[in-house]
């Protein structure tokens, strides 16, 4: 064998050995299907996997704007809707797609609502490539699970079937007022939505509709992220794709008080703001009669228990923050 052929054989053998090892490690780190641990990086969002099958009628998908603005347990109390926030910090659309796919493997929601801030979150070719690599060799997706495995080894394993007590919502009561002087200043301009985001949106919409869920876009109130150019761009895209779009930033009836309803100068809402935004979403959905009211049904009694716990925690947190 000449030197070149020897080098080539060595290289091929090396890569084959590496792939085999990656395959074996993938087996070791991939969590059992249907566990919260299935997405170690966003436990709250993956709490959906701990929900009883086919019990969630409404899914909210998005980044931190979603888990700061939508309170599923308030929707339960006011309308009897069973909903869940599939949201994680700085969520990108490719991850949203993955979360929706995981959720829809156990749930048959009637409505999926996607928060629009993600449409403007750029991600590059690398992110998509890594995402695809993770579906072939799961070690690229679950590599960080070594921490969970080590916890188990050390006898501190987390409960992988743990539900999210607030159904994906995160309670914040801190008040940090926003300067809303330039908030939603009228404009005819259109913000640019990255082409890669548009393609993912189309894919997600089709996936949801194929599974019988109505797909809706919604924008939560935010002085930092919302603007008329964005509103115009989303309105045009929603029209083009035949999607309903609800922009809470243009809905004057919500009456967000930017001196009290935000926790970080208008970027995200706190509980006070989230309660207003949730009320508006609930009323809108109730008007459309898209979702059933499960209150009083024995199978959903757990929601009443969780709501009681939630209200107690909210009261305590508001008191601590000096808001009650």
């Amino acid at each position: 064998m000449n030197t070149a052929a020897k080098h080539f054989t060595n290289a091929v053998s090396f890569v084959a050995g590496l792939l085999l090892m990656l395959f074996l490690i993938s087996k070791a780190v991939t969590p059992a299907e249907g566990t919260v641990d299935n997405g170690v990086d966003s436990k709250d969002a993956n709490g959906i996997l701990a929900e009883p099958e086919n019990s969630i009628d409404l899914l909210f998908v998005g980044d931190s704007e979603t888990y700061s603005s939508v309170i599923p347990l308030e929707l339960w109390d006011k309308h009897g809707f069973t909903s869940y926030c599939l949201s994680s910090s700085a969520q990108k659309l490719y991850y949203a797609e993955e979360l929706i796919e995981a959720a829809l493997s156990r749930q048959r929601p009637r409505v999926v609502m996607l928060e629009t801030n993600m449409l403007f979150t750029k991600f590059n070719f690398d992110d998509s490539l890594l995402h695809k690599a993770g579906s072939v060799l799961p070690v690229f997706k679950y590599h960080d699970r070594w921490k969970v495995l080590l916890d188990g080894f050390m006898g501190e394993e987390t409960d992988t079937s743990e539900e999210s007590e607030f159904k994906g919502y995160r309670l914040y009561t801190k008040v940090n007022p926003a300067d809303a002087a330039g908030y939603m200043k009228p404009s005819d301009q259109k913000a640019a939505i990255p082409s890669r985001c548009k393609s993912y949106l189309k894919e997600i919409k089709e996936y949801c509709e194929e599974r019988g869920a109505q797909f809706i876009l919604f924008s939560t109130p935010s002085t930092k992220n919302a603007s008329y150019p964005r509103h115009n761009a989303i309105t045009a895209l929603a029209k083009q794709l035949g999607i309903e779009y609800i922009d809470l930033n243009t809905d004057k009836s919500i009456k967000i008080d930017w001196s009290t309803d935000t926790r970080d100068r208008g970027d995200h809402l706190n509980y006070l703001g989230a309660a207003k935004a949730t009320k508006a979403i609930g009323e809108h959905l109730a008007k459309k009669e898209l979702l059933p009211d499960h209150r009083g049904e024995e199978a959903y009694s757990r929601w009443d228990e969780l709501y009681k716990v939630f209200t107690k925690k909210v009261k305590k947190a508001l008191k601590k923050a000096g808001l009650s």
Partner: protein, 546 residues
């Protein structure tokens, strides 16, 4: 869909890191395959084409500035060379007594041309990089003076790597003027020297004499170069992906996201340490990728780091950290200032009055001030960067002034400066001073830097240093363990390198099973313990923004 849209749909970030998947699995292998397939005479042109394609992919139409810089450097080089040639032939024809005056005329002409070249190149850099900074400061000044006129602040248009390729171009022109290198007739050769793709984002800042011939004298890729180059890239990846990216969430939260600066001094001090580690791991890791990539093509690039945290003084630190930038400032600012006629005269008179140590320090201080003012400004257009430069200027100057006193005290107290404990204390002191400097460097402005620094002493809140807060800052115990293990590996290898042991050479001599085991271990360590995907936010190459 345009290629640039495909690769750069996320705002151009796919290729700005030499650790991006697009670079490692598409661009670089593509270059290696095409380079190998081409005949020898075409290889250099292909490298040039690849470099321009790379730059176009990351900077799009801003490539025009790279082209302009190259044309300008080429033209000025030839002009300066021609003046020199004409001068030599002219002087040869003149009688000896007239030569001095004629030479002075030619040298003066050469200097004027050189000044024009430097003004044009640095001027372009100043306009592109510093216009918003200058305009904002002029507006502030005007408003303080009660003038109602306000200038429009221009949008920053800065091609990635302009601070690096501009300095390379300027060094080439000055070297031609000094006669260190001959002006290059071949525009393509000069273009490749200025634009070679791995080094265009973050350097190192090469001299024409260091890399131009190597780049132009392309040979086929050797198996050893290929494997060694890949190993060096993997080494850089370990630093960047496992450590630098892992620390990013913590550092970003403290310096950027936590706009109210709600954390106490203890956490801020930890963040300053971690940022310094992150910066070193990011930048030196990127340099490993640059040098490794070049090595694949048989090109030896200059090293940019040499165990900087083993430095005993700040001055030594800057001889070990970003070596190519320090050397550039030394050769093209420090020496010209100290050797200028006025400074020589000043040194001469000061030496008589102040002695042989303090006398030359005056001219040295002037030159040092120029170097550190430029160094600070080079890093960014903000007062915090100028402060960063002045901070190091003061530290180095103070070190120089106090040196005789320290030596005298040591002698008096019978302290041997070679003692391990003494050296260790010097290393720790230098490390602390560097970390303080980096805190100001990283803070969002000078005011924020002052506030953060002040809090370290006034509001420590040591109770915050607990697992819960670290978890909140997304740096749990496991992360710290991985960072610790990786730093230990890097530290051990650095010491071996410092002692002249080449790990790759000695590994290459071992049995294939051991070689593969080490490589598999390295690759799997990066894949399993790397901070990517999920909620990790990989840091963009930190020096690409400068």
């Amino acid at each position: 869909m345009q290629l640039s849209t495909l690769l750069l749909g996320g705002g151009g970030k796919s290729l700005t890191s030499l650790f991006s998947l697009v670079y490692l699995f598409v661009f670089l292998p593509g270059c290696i395959i095409v380079y190998t397939a081409l005949p020898k005479k075409c290889k250099k042109y292909f490298l040039l084409l690849a470099s321009y394609a790379f730059f176009w992919l990351i900077s799009s139409s801003l490539i025009i500035y790279l082209i302009l810089t190259t044309f300008s450097a080429h033209y000025f080089g030839i002009w300066l060379d021609r003046i020199g040639t004409q001068m030599r032939s002219h002087l040869a024809e003149l009688p000896k007594e007239e030569r001095k005056a004629a030479k002075a005329v030619c040298v003066s002409k050469q200097r004027r041309v050189l000044a024009l070249a430097v003004i044009l190149h640095i001027g372009l850099l100043l306009v592109l990089k510093y216009s918003p900074f200058f305009t904002t400061n002029i507006n502030t000044l005007l408003s303080k003076l009660g003038v109602s006129v306000q200038l429009e602040v221009p949008a920053a248009i800065m091609p990635i790597g302009i601070s690096f390729f501009t300095l390379q171009a300027v060094s080439y022109v000055i070297d031609v003027c000094r006669g260190v290198v001959k002006a290059e007739d071949d525009l393509f050769k000069l273009a490749l020297f200025i634009s070679f793709f791995p080094a265009i984002i973050e350097g190192p800042i090469c001299r024409y004499g260091q890399t131009a011939d190597q780049l132009w004298d392309c040979d086929k890729i050797q198996y050893k170069n290929l494997t060694f180059g890949i190993q060096r890239i993997l080494w850089g990846m370990l630093k960047k992906v496992v450590v630098a990216d892992r620390l990013n969430n913590f550092v970003t939260t403290i310096f950027d996201t936590d706009k109210d600066y709600s954390y106490g001094g203890a956490i801020i001090a930890i963040a300053a340490v971690l940022y310094t580690v992150q910066l070193y791991m990011d930048f030196s890791g990127s340099m490993d990728a640059v040098i490794g990539t070049a090595e694949i093509f048989g090109i030896t690039m200059p090293e940019n780091f040499r165990m900087p945290f083993f430095s005993r003084t700040i001055s030594e630190f800057w001889q070990r950290w970003h070596i190519s930038l320090g050397a550039w400032f030394k050769d093209y600012i420090f020496y010209p200032v100290t050797t200028s006629k006025k400074m020589k005269k000043l040194t001469s008179s000061a030496r008589k009055k102040l002695g042989s140590h303090y006398g030359p320090l005056i001219a040295g201080a002037v030159a040092l001030f120029c170097v550190w003012f430029c160094n600070g400004l080079w890093h960014g257009s903000a007062w915090s960067f100028i402060f960063f430069g002045m901070y190091h200027f003061v530290l180095i100057l103070t070190g120089n002034i106090l040196e005789p006193l320290v030596q005298a005290v040591n002698k008096k107290l019978h302290i041997n400066s070679g003692w391990f404990v003494y050296r260790l204390l010097q290393i720790i002191r230098t490390g602390v001073l560097v970390i303080i400097g980096e805190l100001f460097f990283r803070a969002r402005g000078l005011k924020a830097g002052m506030m953060l620094f002040g809090r370290i002493f006034t509001d420590q809140r040591f109770e915050e240093v607990n697992e819960k807060v670290f978890d909140k800052l997304r740096l749990d115990t496991y992360d710290l363990i991985i960072v610790g293990i990786t730093l230990l590996i890097v530290f051990t290898v650095s010491i071996l390198n410092e002692r002249g042991v080449c790990i790759r050479e000695s590994l290459a001599k071992r049995h294939i099973a051991l070689r593969w085991a080490v490589l598999y271990g390295l690759i799997l360590f990066i894949i399993v313990f790397g901070a990517y995907g999920g909620t990790y936010a990989p840091v963009d190459p930190m020096y690409a923004q400068f």
